[in-house]
Symmetry: C2
Subunit: 289 residues, 2 copies
């Protein structure tokens, strides 16, 4: 049995929303889902599936990650990503990356080729070059069709979670940050336990108000509810996303999967771009609640 | 009632250890403890106490934070710090800072003056300059008496946790990273939920093998055990530090305090530089188990 979910960000309905735009987003979500699904169907690992799914979303200018990344207040693009392999409790992440085409692939290289978890800034770019990651000029991002308004930008962070046929779980998240953010700001996406987490019982990727998801250590909070309160993934996600976060004024959502292949895609915003598939079932693509 | 604990790092006994060195470390720990204790005794906040205590440790070349920071493989000094206010669930952190004399004060400024939690690299240095933080050349660090061998460096990360008379908790951590680390590497210290965490029930600061403390989301794991398994701080710390972490091969320790003023200072290494005080009691200073 395999299961896969992805998100393309949560937030309010963007200004200028249209049926044509909705179709473009749905098509993009379906294409990225199929990339990961095909790998899982062939017996590939959850880690490979989330990496490839997120890389596909990074290549699409519709999302605020990789190519479609928004700009900082300095007009630059800074990219963050993380990946975690639940079976090995191994993680890799990058932040404030400026030259890598696919930040999630560089995060994966941090996991596989270093003794570290998180590399940031110039050191992360130097590492990307060292491991042969595909580098692009800032104009690759700046010339894309990235949305420039804040509310559209809020929909952009991307992520994926997967269970593979070997019973292993993995999660990955990638973002271009907040439109107009201070250079050097790191949100929750690349932070293990906050925006991305996976262990032997669940895998989580979040999207939304990153600073709140850091303060609530949101991704690991889901795992901890399961581990210590002995509740199901569904109950853990419901309590966190629909009860605790709104109490704090924290807007956003998350996707999660457990080792039985249970999929959760919950959000307390108007919409969350999302898609999921379980072996033997048709893919689901959805945007609004 | 107030309570305060601090650490100056956990690890193996350094090479060349001597009675004279032990006395210098004990004196330094006692001085830093008194800085925070005096503030708490005057009714000051836990947030002020942990900030001032960690700043005092940063100014002492005996510890791998601030002045005594170790060097990366590029020969540079990169500084990380975080502070969290448990009552407000507010946090500020900086990473890969190169010019600020007291990283913990810059982390405090991130908490108080921005909508963000974590700033890294050039953007963090620019922010430090913008808020008037004291800046120093890299030679301030490089000219210090910082230890250069790996095992001494392992003893350096500093941190503090406090309960103030208003019943509020706070935690702060600061580090110069790992000796010889890749430039841009960020360990657990500045990561909320990993090396530093505080909420209404407990405050935690860790020290040790940073990458493992990221993978286990160690600081928040203690809070989650209390919140969801309903165990005491002492039981939560014992289970995590003395049972789970050794199983993973993760060496280190942590300090913690709960809202009743219970203090924990546990480590699975040969020693952890540490000190604590509760209102009405004599300070305790200790190094070995």
């Amino acid at each position: 049995m395999y299961a896969l979910a992805l998100h393309g960000g949560a937030g309010p309905r963007p200004a200028g929303w249209s049926g044509a735009r909705e179709q473009r987003v749905r098509d993009a979500l379906a294409r990225a889902l199929e990339v990961g699904r095909a790998l899982l169907s062939d017996g590939g690992s959850a880690l490979d599936a989330v990496t490839a799914t997120v890389a596909a979303l990074e290549d699409d200018p519709l999302f605020n990650a990789g190519r479609g990344a928004v700009r900082t207040r300095a007009g630059t693009v800074e990219l963050d990503a993380a990946v975690m392999d639940g079976a090995a409790l191994a993680a890799g992440a990058v932040a404030v990356l400026r030259r890598a085409k696919n930040p999630v692939k560089v995060a994966r290289a941090v996991l596989e080729r270093t003794a570290h978890v998180l590399l940031a800034g110039d050191g992360a770019d130097a590492f990307a070059a060292e491991v042969g990651a595909e580098l692009v000029p800032q104009s690759y991002f700046l010339s894309s069709a990235a949305p420039s308004s804040d509310d559209e930008a809020a929909h952009g962070t991307v992520g994926a979670v997967a269970l593979d046929r070997h019973g292993h779980l993995a999660a990955a998240t990638s973002t271009g940050g907040m439109s107009g953010q201070r250079p050097g700001r790191i949100g929750d996406s690349p932070l293990i336990g906050c925006g991305t987490y996976a262990d032997e019982q669940c895998a989580i990727s979040t999207t939304g108000h990153g600073e709140w998801f850091i303060r609530t250590v949101q991704a690991y909070d889901i795992a901890a509810r399961m581990r210590y309160a002995h509740v199901s993934l569904t109950v853990a996600v419901e309590s966190a996303v629909m009860q605790r976060l709104p109490t704090l004024g924290a807007a956003g959502g998350l996707i999660a999967v457990d080792r039985a292949g249970t999929l959760c895609m919950r959000f307390n915003t108007a919409q969350m771009y999302r898609a999921c598939v379980r072996e033997g079932n048709e893919p689901e693509i959805a945007i609004t609640a």
